[in-house]
Symmetry: C2
Subunit: 246 residues, 2 copies
Amino acid sequence: MQNYKIIVQYDGTKYQGWQIQRSSDQTIQGKISAVLSKMADTQIEVVGSGRTDAGVHALGQVANFFMPEKFSENQIINYLNEYLPEDIAVCKIQKVDERFHARFSCKSKTYRYRIFISNIPNVFERKYYYQYLDAKIDVNLMKNAVKYLIGEHDFKSFCGNTHIKKSTIRTIFSIDIQSTENEIIIDYSGDGFLQNMVRILTGTLIEIGTKQILLDTLPQIITSKNRQLAGFTAPPQGLTLLKVEY
Amino acid sequence: MQNYKIIVQYDGTKYQGWQIQRSSDQTIQGKISAVLSKMADTQIEVVGSGRTDAGVHALGQVANFFMPEKFSENQIINYLNEYLPEDIAVCKIQKVDERFHARFSCKSKTYRYRIFISNIPNVFERKYYYQYLDAKIDVNLMKNAVKYLIGEHDFKSFCGNTHIKKSTIRTIFSIDIQSTENEIIIDYSGDGFLQNMVRILTGTLIEIGTKQILLDTLPQIITSKNRQLAGFTAPPQGLTLLKVEY
């Protein structure tokens, strides 16, 4: 069996997220696994770098799988792109060492969150941003909040699963905020992110920008490990997994 | 009654084109007219700058309509954007002179056609380009063809309605072709375009780029007034009405 690494793009609008669920076959992992299993005529398991929530998109999700070595890389990628739904595409495939594991080998992930500030929708990109109507958001306050968040912290306050048993310590390498008149783009890089963490960080930054949360209280919000004190969970459609590094 | 001019954006994917049809309410004109008629509690007719085909998009379609003067422009645009489907948006509204007519007053229209050259789809933009698999297309041949097309000509060879009785003479002001490794973008400006004309011009340019049509025969194709001699009708999803000028 040969281990293959693929880079996957998807428009997550119609899906229940990356991860296979018993109750739904509307998952990206499920769709890819089904096409590969049909090709190889045996069950093929696909491992992703991590879950993405329902409605979240990806430009550079990474996955790996083991297949009998009877097809070329070109045959596999062409078969995948022919039989996958049109909102999922495989951009790249390569053979990798058998020890490569899309989740455990991952060193860094980068997510982008797009906030579109306008009361006029953009019909072409409406599924790929969060439309926010309050133009009085102060981007400088958001930028000032970044220094409290980067580095290694226990991010339990920013975890959507409040019953989590495993470690909630993560390291954020950088948070880069760009803004134009109508848009705020936030790029987060880190060694990993908890469930809903990027969306809760974004909701918190938005509430700091609108002064619903005071900037100076952010260190206490982090140390409290209390989800209630952080901001709202920004909606999934604004979020895209940009890249995963190994 | 007050005459209003609006600028409309739409993702044409799900629609039977701009123009109201007796057999279908899936038209952009029909959707806008229905919302305005509900607001004014009387039938409001909407005039567009021209039809767009089923599946064609618009960034800057222009329309006008007469309404009883009991609402502000803000009220009208907000009502429209609240009740129109999410793939249609009104970007701008202004009061205009009663003589303004979106079709008859039009001086120039600009359309963009996007050709995406890749066997890997782009899941986020797949509804907004024509995916073309032959990478051996010669963009310089296409650019050399432009000189034969600009200016005033009888474009009957490039009209999808072969039984047309009205004049098929139009003036093309410019055709601008930009290309990158994976994309060819063609912008057409003119005083007006016949049914399917931009799509047939695009199909002809593509066939010139792939040498299925020889560049030197283009003047004869124009003078022949024979639809059979021009190229194929490029598919609608690559086409967007960018702007209309008055």
